[in-house]
């Protein structure tokens, strides 16, 4: 099969080709891969090697050094130190872990519940659809971040709570996206064909409808990841996130507030980290959407 024909029909191939040829898509992909690599590194280093690697290369992100408080960026501390003398670069790297775990975790949580709900409501319609979607409307009536704060207040702090809180807040967006796609897939002839073949409903839902709804779900997932990373930083900033001294960008920003005029590096670098990561996920999401939707007219961009 020729490359042109493949590029038109094969979803994976279209995304891959986009990333290879489109500079913006490439930039997004590089940032995303880099953040995930940083997160993976900090998880392994912190939990398995007890900060061995980062200590050798830089500094222990947890080590307090009262003699070196708020030191300017230098060769020893490229991003400077915070008010307790901890190395900011090491903490920014470790902070990636929190952002990615919470981001991926809450998106997975929201996707599993939201997608199942979207497919079931679209397929059965009627009362099931009404009850399911009105429940989503209730959730949507609260701003996501407010809903997450309320849930966190009752669940307490920690990784699991924040993943559940954000996950619940993002369920409606997945449910809606999936439902609208599933409604059109449901009337496709292969779904009727499967019913005519006597397939049980479970198989019709999982084998026929679900795989044909993946495209908008993947796009939604990438965008929601970016939003979840910002939300996690926001919640940590408000003191509702994971427990200190776990390094997170939100907690660092919160600590940097009062030194913003005296120690610019303390707020700049965690802020940059959030911006770049979120930008990366948004660019990748944009590119995937353009690659998968011929109508969005996504011309390939070159910088």
């Amino acid at each position: 099969m020729s490359e042109d024909a493949r590029s038109y029909t094969n979803v994976k191939w279209r995304v891959y080709r986009r990333i290879r040829t489109d500079l913006i898509a490439k930039l997004g992909a590089v940032i995303v891969v880099f953040s995930i690599a940083m997160a993976a590194f900090s998880i392994v280093d912190d939990f398995l090697l007890s900060e061995l690697v980062i200590e050798t290369l830089l500094h222990d992100p947890y080590e307090l050094n009262p003699n070196n408080r708020l030191a300017e960026p230098s060769l020893a501390h490229p991003f400077g130190t915070d008010e307790q003398g901890r190395d900011i670069l090491a903490r920014v790297i470790y902070g990636t872990r929190t952002s990615i775990i919470v981001g991926v975790g809450s998106v997975l949580f929201a996707a599993i519940i939201g997608v199942s709900l979207g497919i079931v409501t679209a397929y059965y319609g009627g009362l099931v659809d009404n009850v399911g979607m009105r429940a989503m409307d209730v959730l949507l009536a609260f701003p996501a971040i407010l809903l997450a704060i309320a849930l966190l207040a009752s669940l307490g702090r920690g990784f699991t709570s924040i993943i559940i809180a954000l996950g619940v807040a993002y369920v409606p967006s997945f449910a809606r996206v999936t439902r609208s796609k599933a409604l059109s897939v449901k009337s496709d002839e292969y779904v009727t064909a499967a019913e005519v073949m006597g397939y049980p409903t479970r198989d019709v839902l999982v084998d026929e409808i679900l795989p044909n709804c993946f495209t908008p779900i993947i796009v939604q997932g990438t965008f929601t990841l970016a939003v979840a990373i910002i939300a996690e930083a926001g919640l940590s900033f408000l003191g509702l996130g994971v427990n200190p001294p776990t390094p997170t960008w939100g907690i660092m920003l919160s600590g940097a507030q009062q030194y913003i005029t005296t120690a610019w590096w303390y707020s700049l670098f965690p802020g940059l980290a959030i911006m770049v990561t979120v930008l990366g996920f948004n660019l990748l999401g944009d590119s995937i959407r353009d690659a998968l939707d011929p109508q969005s007219g996504g011309e390939e961009r070159r910088l």
């Binding site: 099969m1 029909t9 496709d188 002839e189 292969y190 009727t192 064909a193 499967a194 019913e195 005519v196 073949m197 006597g198 397939y199 049980p200 479970r202 198989d203 999982v206 084998d207 026929e208 795989p211 044909n212 993946f214």
Partner: protein, 334 residues
């Protein structure tokens, strides 16, 4: 015993502007191994009849009256589980657009494999299927054999191709293969060759006819193309506006139509051998299904209409070689 016996079937759709009487009192019998053609214009209720046979009429449609007997058992009173048993195994279906009838995310071979496997051994958990743990070498061999039988070259390799990698004719062959895979007793074919060009259509018709004769499968072939009926079918049922107008052996009905509607359908076929002849155009449209005439459904368009046609829809007169719903045949009735 007949494979399929439909008596006085009424299928209605309740819409906001009123009840659409898509099918109004169809009687139809199909014997084992027989190929029956169901012809009529768009909107005459052909496809609704087919979905009624499978009890697949979707909301807001409902089967208002009548019985559908498959092999003596009343299909309309079966539970969902019993229906699932029937569908795909005993009765299967061929769709108009096979490219749409295959799931685009799975290979064609895989889809045929799953149909056969679930028919033989029941369904498996989706997770097992997703991991490919349900793969069955016997089923695969049977599928490859079937792909070969429907004339797909190099079936072993095509097994792992996706639907979009097939051409229109090849995917329709695969669809025919899927319909015959579980050795059904009855196949419902809803205009399956309409989208194909004539030479491919003829190939598939010939192949299909050979296969169903070999397997002794009964077929209900829905079409608006009388030339397909002439080539394929033993008997033909002519439908118009939800009613049966004429039923009889293909030869009798097509060579000497008794109903003016059948005659009009035949006259509407353009003749390439008589290019100078003015083309016959049937005046008017199929009557509005919300507001059908009380008399003969065809009365408003019929060239041989007389007064009493407007009073009652004619009963069916048995004239020996066929049944005709037309007062013109009254004199010939036995």
């Amino acid at each position: 015993m007949s494979v399929l016996q439909i008596d006085d079937l009424h299928t209605y759709f309740d819409t906001e502007s009123g009840t659409v009487r898509a099918v109004e009192g169809i009687d139809l019998t199909i014997e084992a191994g027989e190929i029956v053609g169901l012809v009529g214009e768009s909107g005459s209720g052909k496809s609704v009849t087919a979905s009624s046979i499978m009890d697949l009429v979707q909301h807001p449609g409902r089967i208002a009256d009548g019985t559908v007997r498959y092999d003596g058992q009343d299909v309309l009173s079966l539970s969902e589980d019993e229906l699932a048993e029937l569908r795909g195994g005993e009765i299967s279906m061929i769709f108009q657009d096979p490219m749409d009838a295959f799931n685009p995310t799975q290979t064609v071979g895989r889809q045929l494999h799953d149909v056969l496997r679930s028919h033989r051994e029941g369904s498996v958990h989706p997770l097992v299927r997703a991991l490919g743990l349900d793969h069955d070498a016997d089923c695969k061999a049977a599928v490859v054999e079937m792909l070969d039988a429907v004339g797909i070259p190099n079936p072993e390799a095509r097994y792992s191709d996706y639907p979009h990698e097939f051409s229109g004719g090849m995917i329709q062959r695969a669809m025919v293969g899927m319909a015959l895979l579980c050795d059904p007793k009855l196949v419902l074919a809803d205009e399956p060759t309409t989208g194909l060009d004539v030479s491919i259509e003829r190939q598939i018709l010939g192949l299909f006819k050979d296969l169903v004769e070999e397997l002794d499968t009964a077929v209900l072939w829905i079409t608006h193309d009388l030339s397909v009926v002439a080539k394929l079918c033993d008997r033909v049922v002519v439908m118009y506006a939800g009613k049966v107008m004429e039923v009889g052996s293909t030869e009798a009905v097509l060579s000497d139509p008794a109903s003016p509607y059948t005659q009009a359908l035949l006259d509407s076929i353009p003749r390439y051998d008589r290019p100078d002849e003015e083309m016959y155009v049937m005046e008017g449209d199929v009557p509005d299904p919300l507001n059908r005439p009380d008399g003969c459904r065809f009365a408003d368009r019929c060239p041989e209409v007389h007064d009493r046609c407007h009073d009652h829809h004619p009963p069916r007169f048995d004239t020996g070689d066929r049944e005709v719903a037309c007062y013109l045949a009254e004199g010939d009735a036995e």
